[in-house]
Amino acid sequence: MSGLLLFLVSMVSLGAIYAMLCVALNLESGVGGLWDLGIVSFFGIGAYAYVIVTAPPAASYQAYIFGFEAPVWAGMAAAMIAAALFALLIGALTLRLKREYFLITTLAFAEVIRQIFVNEAWLTNGVAGIYGLRPPLREAVDPSAYGFLLLALLVAGLAIVFLVTRHMVISPFGRSLKAVRENEALAITAGIAPRRHNLKAYVVAGTISGLAGVFYVWYNTIVTPGQYSSDVTFFVWTAVIIGGLGSLRGALVGGFIFVLLHDILRFVPVSGEAAATVASLRTAVIGLALILILRWRPNGLFPERATVFGGAAPAGAKAMVSHNA
């Protein structure tokens, strides 16, 4: 198998993971109006919960005390439950705050959680992280073909996440979420309790991010605190804005576009010394893309569209209109 193909498979896999995070963020921040700068918290919590539940017991040079070697499905369940519980806790504390304070507090919580990954070595093995994690069905296929199998798993996971989220967005739940985003006082007069409703969206987004964390562990086969810095949050926000805040298709495509932009410089053939310089240009490429998008397509590549309902015209609709005109 050629190197280019391997690279493509790896990039699309990473894109699927980012797209999952984008879909989650879009639910709470695009459809809902939450300025959440802590989406990485639940990504990290999901990843660590999965590892703690499924990893083998620590070797002599490792510090973590748990490692239950439980099956994959148990790890996935643990990841989603842990992420949901933390989202419930953090959301209950922060959603009563005004937007700006919510933003800064979620950012702060994300940093606190990363520090816990770094410092609580008994749980997380500290900065060294935990290596050599076996992704599911590793033995099922030839090692050289595993990349394809993993890609299939990630795409299937993304498809499920997308369909579930899409359902939520177009259901009365999502419509109410949008109503709170658009006009909170008016939404209240419709009987919506904004804080409780937003909390539900926050927990759903957290749960999806937790699941994305599991996929990220499969992809990397290692978990370290450095993978869960707030860079991820800003990357996901950038991807969602490029795709189109509030747009489901935008979120889906945004994740892939982001990864493409981020990794496109790897194609530039350069010498060893120049490689570091080129790598540091990545952020600049992303920044440039963001500026161009905001300048020429401020609502993203796939802007949020009006939801259209079918249904027969009521009797007399035409007459009324001509009368008014």
């Binding site: 359902h167 939520m168 177009i170 259901s171 009365p172 739940f173 999502g174 419509r175 109410s176 949008k178 109503a179 658009e182 006009n183 006082a185 008016l186 939404a187 209240i188 007069t189 419709a190 009987g191 919506i192 309790a193 904004p194 409703h197 539900k200 969206a201 759903v204 509030g246 949020e304 009006a306 939801t307 259209v308 309902f309 079918g310 249904g311 027969a312 015209a313 009521p314 007399g316 609709a317 009324m320 209109v321 009368h323 008014n324």
Partner: protein
């Protein structure tokens, strides 16, 4: 139906609502008039739970609703409108309607309830929209509507919600004078279907025409109460609207 007794609310030194008691009888259209800054909107905010009264109590259909959560008060059947109708700007006219539908109200709490909107709900919404001349614009974002259309959408939403008590803050403001009479007849028609009204407006002709009873407010207090004829003949109300000097000139 609605019983406000001795409600008070101050903003710092300003007594915006000062010992107000007021009743809305079932099936009545009750008006609330008063000059700018009299405290009418603040009283609306207190009744609908958006602001908590410093003192006093509010009962609605034999329930104490003082200091209840505004969304809970809304669920009991009190729908209040806002002085400036903006709706949900980036939602379509139809979505604006659906948010107020019984269908959404019963299903919005779970993210897993069915997404499909039943045909009856869409038809009911379409019929109301057609009635207000908005049917052709059902798929347009509310932010793209003209100001008069937004005003019509506000009434359409209120009809969709099917409230027990409808509290309208300046319904006639910004409405084409030629259409005010049709607005009044719509209000009466709804009253005949059993909806009670509490409405604030500066257009005295409209208020006197449509209301069964009127309360007049000045500086946070109720200064007069009665039938429209009684209230506009009241000394204090005359002074308020015409001014003391003008009135002595007239005599």
């Amino acid at each position: 139906m609605l019983d406000v007794s001795s409600c008070k609310l101050s903003f710092g030194g300003v007594k915006a609502v000062d010992d107000v008691s007021l009743r809305v009888e079932p099936g009545s259209i009750t008006g609330l008039i008063g000059t700018n800054g009299a405290g009418k909107t603040t009283l609306f905010n207190v009744i609908s739970g958006f602001l908590k009264a410093d003192a006093g109590s509010i009962r609605f259909m034999d329930r104490d609703i003082t200091a209840r959560d505004p969304s809970e008060i809304a669920k009991l059947g009190i729908l209040r409108t806002f002085q400036t109708p903006v709706g949900f700007p980036r939602m379509t006219v139809m979505e604006n309607m659906l948010v107020f539908s019984r269908h959404d109200r019963d299903r919005r709490s779970s993210p897993f309830s069915p997404a499909r909107v039943p045909a009856e709900t869409l038809e009911a919404a379409s019929a109301i929209l057609a009635d207000f001349g908005l049917y052709q614009k059902r798929d347009v974002w509310a932010e793209d509507l003209s100001a008069p259309d937004l005003k019509m959408l506000e009434f359409a939403r209120a009809m969709m919600a099917g409230p027990v008590l409808l509290m309208l803050d300046e319904p006639a403001a910004g409405v084409n004078p030629a259409l005010i009479e049709s607005l009044a007849s719509r209000i009466r028609a709804l009253r005949d279907q059993g909806v009670s009204f509490l409405l604030v407006d500066h257009n005295l002709k409209f208020v006197c025409n449509v209301c069964d009873r009127i309360f007049a407010m000045a500086d946070g207090r109720i200064i007069a109460e009665g039938t429209p004829d009684e209230v506009i003949a009241d000394q204090k109300v005359l002074e308020l609207y015409i001014g003391k000097s003008a009135k002595t000139d007239l005599q």
